[in-house]
Symmetry: C2
Subunit: 339 residues, 2 copies
């Protein structure tokens, strides 16, 4: 049971208050977001990350003028899932925060839809969060992803063959999905210290150590080796993430200029426009067009193959991309369509 949880900065010890103010600064400066007069929907798993997030945001709410609503999705994947839901109900009740919950048999959903457990869980959880966000009229879905999650994400992207700047990791703010990740550069250890300083209790998710998931193998086997080589490895990935955000802005501006006149219903890139771009720009423009066509992430290799074919002026050449997308080169113009 959580007793006497803090609900304002003045109730925190100096170190815990400092952490909260750092996160407030991250939201304002790095994510360039004002939370004044907003409603935040906090996604709660019951773990230390999202539980600490709830306390941190509670302590910042009055000062920053926002309201909090909480949401929990019970995946019915583990025997302790119901106990965790009870724990979350108590946490929200002791903080006087409204909670919306839903529950689904994700294992059945995954096998019914031929999806991996992780993917099924993510799909259904975010569908629930988005419908809850609309129902409670919230501005943002806020998740507890932290610097260790970010480092794992960078490694998974490196393994998969992601290009730059996407290699820098998940976004801190996604306007399309109405998603905020205010803890993204905060190490998990700092959240644990914060939780302990607040006498907060939380649930450990046993599936986090299940080696059947790539993420958990990255977490338990690869990241510790990297941290052993450089104890400041989390700082290094955080800096890489910051550079990636800066470069994302740089490229977004260039891409917008080039794609202003594009008809996204049947996108094509004209020979004369392509010829005026640097190769670096062309690769980003291809990616932006492909992303606008829906699901399926183009890999760096696919994009380079398309550009090599375009440079060699291979007439009639077709390059395939994930998501059944294809690019066809005809007389130096590239036409994008579905297979």
């Amino acid at each position: 049971m959580n007793r006497h949880l803090p609900t304002g900065l003045q109730e925190l010890d100096p170190k815990a208050a400092h952490l909260c103010l750092g996160i407030e600064n991250f939201i304002t400066s790095e994510l360039q977001t004002s939370l004044e007069d907003t409603v935040l929907l906090v996604a709660l798993s019951g773990g230390v990350d999202s539980s600490a997030l709830l306390i941190i945001l509670t302590c910042l709410a009055k000062k920053n003028g926002f309201c909090i609503h909480a949401a929990h999705f019970n995946h019915q994947l583990r025997p302790e899932a119901d106990a965790e839901e009870t724990h979350i109900r108590q946490l929200c009740s002791s903080l006087n925060i409204e909670l919306t919950t839903d529950s689904q048999d994700i294992a059945a959903y995954a096998s019914g839809h031929k999806l991996g457990i992780e993917e099924a869980a993510r799909l259904r959880r975010y569908a629930f969060l988005e419908s809850t966000r609309l129902a409670v009229n919230a501005d943002w879905i806020v998740t507890g992803h932290h610097a260790n999650d970010l480092a794992e994400d960078v490694m998974m992207r490196l393994i998969r063959g992601t290009g730059w700047p996407a290699l820098g990791g998940m976004q801190g703010k996604c306007n399309n999905r109405k998603l905020l990740r205010p803890l993204l550069t905060t190490p998990k250890d700092d959240l644990i210290s914060f939780a302990n300083a607040c006498s907060l209790t939380w649930c450990e998710d046993a599936s986090n150590i299940d080696k059947q998931f790539l993420r958990n193998r990255v977490r338990s086997q690869i990241i510790p080796l990297l941290c052993k080589e450089n104890p400041a490895f989390l700082d290094a990935t955080t800096s890489l993430w910051k550079l990636a955000q800066v470069d994302t802005d740089h490229w977004a501006e260039i891409i917008n200029q080039h794609l202003q006149k594009t008809d996204f219903d049947s996108p094509k890139l004209l020979k004369e426009d392509l010829s005026s771009m640097s190769q670096a720009t062309r690769l980003r423009v291809y990616k932006a067009v492909l992303n606008s066509m829906g699901k399926g992430q183009p890999l760096q290799q696919n994009l380079l193959a398309l550009d090599t074919a375009w440079q060699a002026n291979v007439g009639g050449k077709v390059v395939q991309f994930p998501g059944n997308k294809i690019a066809t080169i005809r007389k130096g113009t590239i036409y994008f369509s579905y297979q």
Copy 2:
């Protein structure tokens, strides 16, 4: 002993000839280098990488109109070092290639100069290679670095906190150091198959499995985990490297425009110039200026710290960089100097 080693493409089986032609294409297309009428100084360690490199270049020499000279540096670090030197003498003699050798007690040099063994070996080896290049009037020093070395290099840069595009790995061609790495996107397994197809014998370097070196820990512990997750991981890093080359060109052009008028004896960046740049450009311009000041690689964190201070317009703020370099902000202008 190596007998009847191939000295022309027509002596190779189809797969081996295909490998050679792929490397010829890499030199021409990716490294954009013509080898016609050049002299190449091939750095030989006696391992499979550089031995295969020597055969590959020998088979391509007549067709591409270049000459080969070989160089071997004996580090006196292992009991088998002298036997390796003998092996290399025989290899070069059987290919009718002139060889220059030198020898130094690197362990003594390292302790005398308070350097790590690896750094001392690299410093002395490259000094020897460069003086040999000048002595034999060679155009390029050519090394046997391959795709596995590249993947290790990317990981080491990620661990260390390198920014983009340097994160993409070592250069395939370095005009300043007169260095070419024609095997950089060829997997080591392909070189071993090639060597076996040519009945080439080579020496295994026992120090490559010595866990006291970071590079060997990355090689033996980290890379295998990544390859297990994605069997095409070497392809993924090769694609990342290609994108990094493309982006390096993109940034080089932008940086050159901005630094045209810079006095590199006492470099400064004027407030009005900095204000006209995107943040992404500013970070690259800082790095270019710091690199022009000599040894010491600025980390991404240092560059971001400088830009944050510049944006906040912190008068008199001094940011320190490796190599005793400092940047001082005065009235929005950044002055670079030594401590």
